[in-house]
Assembly symmetry: D2
Homo-oligomer: 367 residues x 4
């Protein structure tokens, strides 16, 4: 097949997520047969030293301290934004205005109203967008979704989702930007992933009842107003009910992005702590042979086979990012729809804000 | 030590729980050094055949078809009630009036108002009472409670409890007495256990927000009004927040009585599916050596050692009943307070009804 | 059905296994419908105090300091021997000579030659015998055996068995009778269980290569000659090959009686640490849906349902003893063959001694 | 720091392991700060089409059908050999003669005598060598080794290792090069990994007793002589004893590279099926708080933190290859010793052949 011209990437921000983006762009064309290459062209950070270091470390050809240079450069096709959340909107709008495809880390912006503006502009400009929700890129989640959609679980009766970590569990840990009301809190930061997974698997949520709680009220002598725990009861459009929780004070939990789905014919359980396993209960098996079956990821679960030829060897967290980037590149080339575009990101923020409002009002809210 | 006179038991009802009671009364004095024996004296069931069969199978000396005979017999010290829920009140009040100690299966009565009357009468009469909440008799729950009380987890930040089974998951399963509004639903039947465990570990609940849902609206052609899933957000008096769920349509789950407790210094996880294990995360261990530690039940966890001299061999569900009975007998002899008396049972029913009311009103409720 | 006359039990020895025997005899007729009752008649221990205490605690009608009194008493049907191993032979032969049924704890005797004599005498006398191998009484092992026998795993290709605990892992723990050459060592004490399970599941072993190692050579200043670890390669008559290990210095292991069986069509895994679970891999399921399935014990796995009416609630270690006793009582009544008689116990001792000899000779040995 | 000149790689073979090598060389300099870059220069395969396709897919600058061209090219620093085992020796010797560093997939050669020649030549030439044993690159194995070396487990009393998969479990699967006597069998193919891990953790093995068994004697109508299962009893120089097994007919197992190590003060358990977890039992904790603790890989376990900034997110199988390549590059630059050079590979083959000989002779053998 004929090769498409290279895609040239400009990246703003060089922290943890910057490394992940750079790595994903480097790996995706090697792991997948995308029909076109990706060139890491220019990287921006606030100091010359940081930018130069990142360029060298991650393999960008050029470095800059002015992110607008990336946006303005006609050679660049994709702008990857891993800068602080408060800057996502300005950067995205500038990049969209310049006709670039935009890959923005979550959340799109602190407020849904801003995310809506970004979405509208991107759609008007016809550029391809992507928001970083890489847990959804797990082949085992694809399997779960496929099994649910195919009716293997029967009618869905119940759902429980959670995303819990412990990076804010120590009351002595300092006040950070994440504790600003604009930072969003645990529901926005982690519960958003639980919500994305819930809708990915079971479909649209129609109504919520929120319970957002600040458990550690003071950090570094400052009052904290954002939630440490954000819970919600859920109603889905298809009639199912369920719950989710986002929690960043769960001592001992490093990656508890879990779900359980129960249907009339079967059930599925998953924990991101063992991201290569999906546990399936099939009520159709004979009594006495039933049980939760630990399905290990393998080539039968695309795109696992792009990484490893044999089942059970396990992909890792960074491989999920590679899958995410590959999907985005295929979307840019027109081969597939965008895996998780700005509109999808906006949807999650709308869910988060509705749950937060419901919690304040102590009453249910429709989406 | 001098032996106390034998305690003579009369039992009403001979089904599954009847067998469990009879077995518990037979086993407790053999497993524990209670200082007195228990005699299975008389058993009542509705037919002569059933009563006689149960007497022979479980070892009762006498059988009757009239439960009032048991209540009236001056030889009998304890009346054990395992008859249908709707009869608990009448039988308990009669037994209390006759000065008997009463051991009643849960729920005490379909309505808290009735449970309150039973409690008041028992307390006025000075008899010893017991309600069957045997999950609380697990040595690993005692360990969890002790660790929390001793501050090993620091300040409690979050709680998640569940009791899910699947005996109502099949939409084709018939309408039964449990689907009557008086039957109570999943919250009353199973969520009550989750609530009991929550308060056992973390202390009194002060406020709730309920979400009770009927997922299978029609069974055997009849409309079902009770909940298949009962969820609640919780506030505890000590400032902790959490959630519980009772669910009888969780396909594949046979005994998911689970909890997770998170504190500033550690965490505990438990599932009744593996009732001899408690998983403990100790944030005080050095980074790089931390992790959830699977503590196996052993003689260090009383009264495990009464059953088995070596750790890790595992007690079973019926042993929990034996522990429950032993505690009740010690309470009757005055050696210890009642483990879970009518007032404790009333408390659970009050929690259940408050959650149900909150769900109807779609608003929070104080207890 | 007409009831048979009561069986009267005399028990020699009142330690841990004595309690287990007494409890099993008390529980079995209540849990199972055996058609006859068991009476705990007389118990013997070396001091009057110990005998009297055991009689009271376990419910025996009479106590004695002379075990020969039990053997001689015409009222007694069954003699239960839980005295030290060195006495098993003398007591068993006396009881057999008196026409009693004999239930002897393992090992039958320190040497296979003695066990052979006991077996021959019992068979000549026509009494029913039983040796305590209660791990085999697990409903999940019955399921495993049934699945293998029915061909659900295809042809058996490999087996791994182990029984590891840690009660000798501390080098400072004192020299005991178990460290005497007559005591047998880890292979005899624990490996014997692994061997019994291996033959129970896969059939007769035909050839072995042993590796018995003393790791802690001195205890309490005395030289230890028995093995702390006893390993063996195995050949089965059906062509399968495998290995077992008995190990009493496995720090942290309390009950690692595990096996894995691999066949051309499937596999089974089990650990006694979670004795209510059997994990099954079915290679006949579609690729992408395969995995080890955690089957939880339930009423579909007899005789689980005699203990608990619902699956997943879990039986315990003592319940295995109750199952063992019930099987023995049914054998005495003629309803079933003996579950694990003296000949079966002799077989295990022959395997143990052959492995020990092979280890000394550093060469394979046929059984 | 000053950058070193780029390292230029020539790769022979483009199959599964070829992709893994190419990916490792591309990723290592991005993930690690190696101080020098790696250029994928030339790739060789037997057909022009295969070579060109691999060049494009993996990002090599040049393609060739003559592997000698790679060896002869003065621009190339490293020759990566992923061709069939039978060619490893010729290619390696040619590359060494040309002064190249050589990275050869395992096994170095079908026979230890050939591996010895390769090792001698490489050492004489002073080139840096590497054999692909990437399971050893797991941060959790490094932790295990460090804990053992630091005495956290006390004196080592026992070891059990296994590497089992199921790619030969189906008797209908065809005869392949792996079934040739030169192919080596399960012990050589998989048991070699178990041996490498055993020595990595516990130190040199001094004596072995082998049990190599062909279970499926005919494939595609041809007689199979290599083992399907290779077991060994082990003695270590430090006095510990243990066992390993290599097995390619373990139906359902995809990556059972497991070990258990028991010492006087603690124990470790690991399964490659969950490669980010190490389970640790610490006998120094108080009784009642002891248990196997699930340590999740995190930045405290170098070089995990090079991949992901937060614990518990999990690295994957391919990341192990990246770690392996990074270690090799550091060795080439002189910063560190070779992680697993030809001499280490030769050691493993010697162990394998000694076990095979022991199995044939049915007697123990010293190494």
């Amino acid at each position: 097949m004929s090769r498409k011209p290279d895609l040239r990437v400009g990246m703003i921000g060089t922290g943890f997520m910057g490394k992940a983006h750079a790595f994903g762009f480097a790996a995706a064309p090697k792991v997948f047969d995308l029909g076109q290459d990706v060139v890491l062209d220019m990287v921006a950070d606030v100091t010359e030293e940081a930018a130069a270091k990142a360029a060298r470390a991650y393999g960008f050809e050029r470095a800059t301290t002015d992110w607008r240079e990336i946006v303005a450069d006609p050679a660049i096709d994709i702008v990857s934004i891993t800068a602080p959340n408060a800057l996502h909107k300005e950067m995205s709008l500038a990049a969209i205005a310049a006709g670039k495809h935009v890959y923005c880390e979550k959340p799109l912006a602190p407020l849904a109203v801003d995310a809506a503006e970004m979405t509208a502009e991107a759609e008007a400009a016809g550029v391809k967008t992507q928001v970083g929700f890489n847990y959804l890129c797990n082949p085992m989640l694809a399997l779960a979704r496929e099994m649910i959609a195919a009716g293997e679980l029967g009618e869905i009766l119940g759902y429980r989702g959670i995303h819990a970590e412990d990076y804010m569990a120590d009351p002595a840990s300092p006040f950070t930007f994440r504790h600003d009301p604009e930072g969003g809190g645990a529901l926005a930061d982690l519960g958003s992933h639980a919500l994305a997974t819930a809708e990915y698997l079971v479909g649209p949520i129609s109504e919520v009842m929120g319970d957002c709680v600040t458990m550690i009220g003071t950090r570094s002598g400052r009052r904290v107003e954002v939630d440490d725990v954000g819970r919600a009861f859920l109603r889905f459009e298809n009639g199912a009910s369920g719950s989710i929780e986002g929690n960043w004070i769960s001592t001992g939990r490093k990656m508890q992005h879990d779900f359980e789905v129960y249907g009339t014919k079967g059930a599925l359980c998953f924990t991101q702590e063992r991201l290569n396993e999906l546990h399936h209960f099939d009520a159709g098996l004979p009594v006495g042979r039933q049980g939760f079956r630990r399905i290990e990821a393998g080539p039968a679960n695309p795109p696992y086979g792009q990484f490893i030829a044999a089942a059970g060897h396990q992909i890792g967290f960074n491989d999920l990012k590679t899958i995410e980037v590959a999907g985005y590149i295929r979307a840019i080339s027109g081969a597939e729809p965008e895996p998780f575009n700005f509109r999808a990101g906006l949807r999650i923020q709308t869910l988060v804000e509705t749950i937060q409002a419901s919690s304040r009002e102590r009453f249910w809210r429709a989406i």
